[in-house]
């Protein structure tokens, strides 16, 4: 038996369509069998609600008097794209406010527009005969705009790898707070309710298909950026009118030390055409596997620690190396369910009919990494090879003398074998002198937990270490932990010589 899309739409229109949410399908199929489920169910609704960083909106402000072609644009101090004439712009969700970096960004501008707040628009132009005006400042609400059309390059990831941190420091990432020593695992995604997981071969999801986006009725444009169907990481490009959105399904967020992002609800109703649809929509959390990746390694190819299913992740704890680890979802399953339920109501009430893709999405695509034509700058290119060190057993007055003489305020401390065992700073010495109990040897007062770098480490990773630990120098060690050089924060400045740019 098969059903046509017209037949399903006819039922939607006369109010007799049977609509269920995707998480109900496994039980329905096991109760009625595949044939039975096909006969019984007409539409399966899906939903997901989570951080979708690659989102934003095209806005048109209308013309000012005298008119301006806006070249640089800020909305509540968040820069928007000024390369599309004249009063058009694109505001991206992750752009940070220039005045409130840590707490406000493009996602907040979008949420504020949707909740009816006034937004300050500032723009500049170099002026022309047809657009003489050079600057403008005004306050606008969503209703004052001609268009506010959300167009999101990459939404609704099929699944997303989970994150863990084997390093010794707490990391703040777009995967949330990752505690040191594998103390927690974070993940994202709705699993059984995820739209693409219910149609992995993209037979039903493609260009023109109706969706819920941020609470509005919208549609799929086509494949999303970084779409990688071949690896089961398909993505979608989506669109809808911001005027129809609401904050139940759209929320700005801040990932600590990462920045702003947009939490969005996305859902797609799937017509149950054939047995294949039934089988696919019966997918369960236990069928969908992801890797757990180590974010303690700052590289594109973060090592895979283990494989887990969404069922395990959602249970609250997983087992890793015989230890129980707490998990945290970053996306909201409760809101994903609200998305699927809202779609269900829309279809039951006849407010949304379905269609098949006008263009299908390529399921053989695999995303490529970036081709890099310039080589990455390594620590060895700017580190200082002349490094003043001190031995563990030496007197701190000797350390003080060396620190005074040299240009450094960091002395790497070596043991008898010449291996790095600590570091001593002017601050350590000042502290030691201030204390009543006289400590005399370097090893009594040195910092033992030294953060180091290697000669072949990319400079940006070393810079992030300096930043993260709020320190001003890193000893450079070789494989034997011998201190071969030192990298000062001030050396990083060499990379930005005036006029020269980066080499």
């Amino acid at each position: 038996m098969e059903k046509s899309i017209d037949e399903i739409n006819r039922r939607i229109r006369d109010g007799s369509a049977r609509v269920v949410t995707a998480d109900e399908m496994p039980d329905i199929v096991s109760e009625l069998g595949e044939e039975g489920a096909l006969r019984e169910v007409d539409v399966v609704t899906t939903g997901t609600f989570g951080a979708m960083c690659s989102s934003g909106a095209f806005l048109n402000f209308g013309h000012a008097e005298p008119p301006i072609k806006m070249e640089r644009i800020w909305l509540n101090d968040v820069e928007a794209y000024g390369g599309i004439a004249a009063v058009d712009t694109y505001i991206g969700a992750t752009n940070k406010s220039v005045t409130r970096m840590e707490s406000y960004g493009g996602a907040h501008v979008i949420e504020d527009f949707i909740s009816g707040k006034a937004i300050e628009l500032r723009a500049q132009s170099s002026g022309s005969d047809c657009y003489p005006r050079r600057s403008i400042t005004t306050e606008l609400r969503l209703e004052d705009l001609n268009q506010a059309i959300m167009v999101n390059p990459r939404n609704a990831y099929q699944r997303y790898d989970a994150a863990v941190n084997t390093s010794e420091d707490t990391l703040y990432t777009y995967m949330g707070t990752l505690l040191p020593h594998n103390a927690n695992v974070t993940f994202s995604g709705a699993g059984t309710l995820n739209p693409i997981c219910n149609d992995p071969n993209l037979r039903l999801i493609g260009s023109g298909v109706p969706i819920l986006l941020g609470g509005a009725q919208g549609m799929v444009i086509g494949e999303g950026t970084q779409h990688s169907s071949a690896g089961s990481f398909a993505t979608l490009m989506t669109t809808a009118d911001m005027a129809d959105m609401n904050t139940d399904f759209l929320r700005a967020a801040i990932m600590h030390r990462y920045g702003p992002t947009l939490y969005l609800g996305v859902g797609i109703p799937l017509p149950v055409l054939d047995i294949e649809t039934v089988r696919r929509t019966a997918v369960q959390d236990s069928d969908i596997m992801v890797s757990i990746r180590d974010y303690g390694v700052p590289s594109r190819s973060r090592p895979v620690i283990s494989q887990v299913s969404y069922a395990e992740l959602k249970s609250g704890t997983i087992e890793l190396n015989n230890e129980e680890i707490k998990t945290s979802s970053l996306s909201s399953f409760r809101r994903a369910k609200m998305v699927a339920n809202t779609l269900k109501r829309w279809v039951e009430d006849g407010q949304m009919t379905l269609c098949l893709p006008t263009r299908y999405i390529d399921t053989s695509k695999q995303a490529k990494p970036m081709r890099e034509t310039r080589k990455v700058i390594l620590v060895q290119e700017i580190m200082q090879r002349k490094v003043v060190t001190i031995k563990e057993g030496q007197d701190i007055t000797e350390a003080a003398r060396k620190l005074l003489r040299g240009e450094t305020n960091h002395l790497p401390v070596l043991n008898e074998q010449g291996r790095l065992t600590g570091v001593i700073t002017t601050f350590d010495i000042a502290k030691a002198v201030a204390r009543p109990e006289r400590k005399v040897r370097v090893q009594d007062i040195m910092t033992r937990n030294v953060i180091t770098t290697q000669a072949d480490e990319p400079i940006d990773i070393a810079a992030q270490k300096l930043d993260h630990h709020r320190i001003s120098a890193l000893p450079v060690v070789d494989a034997q932990n011998q201190c071969i050089a030192i990298l000062h924060a001030s050396d990083l400045g060499k990379l930005f010589k005036p006029g020269g740019g980066r080499p």
Binding site: T177, T327, S329, L330, K337
Partner: protein
């Protein structure tokens, strides 16, 4: 009831002293010692002994603040993601069967760790 106890200068074992004097059992949730600010401890006492204990502590030279509640959770901002769940050392957060966040403020020791981990600024300290 939680009490935030601060000793400005030298540290005497005042908690032991207060237990001895009042006979009230005091649970130390968290204690911190800092060269600049002296010692700070968060303690839990039975509601009915709250006044007795805090008065005695004050008479021994401590600054005592009575904290009415634990972590403050803003339901309007919360989206029930669960990012806070694995961060909290005291299992204050959990999901109910409908994936709605439950907050057991009584267990909270006000360590503040969850605050920056909430992407939606839904968690804050009230003191």
């Amino acid at each position: 009831m939680k009490l935030l106890v601060r000793l400005i200068h030298e540290s005497k074992p005042i908690i032991a002293q207060v237990v001895k004097d009042t006979g009230v059992l005091i649970n130390v949730d968290r204690a911190r010692s800092d060269a600049h600010e002296g010692e700070e401890a968060l303690v839990d006492v039975p509601d009915e002994s709250c006044i007795l204990v805090s008065e005695r502590m004050r008479s021994l030279g401590a600054e005592v603040r009575i904290l009415e509640e634990g972590i403050r959770h803003d339901e309007e901002e919360c989206v029930d993601c669960g990012a806070c769940i694995s961060i909290c050392p005291k299992k204050v957060f959990s999901f109910d069967k409908d994936w709605k966040l439950q907050v057991e403020t009584k267990k909270c020791i006000l360590c503040g760790r969850c605050i920056i981990s909430c992407p939606h600024a839904a968690l804050s300290l009230s003191y």
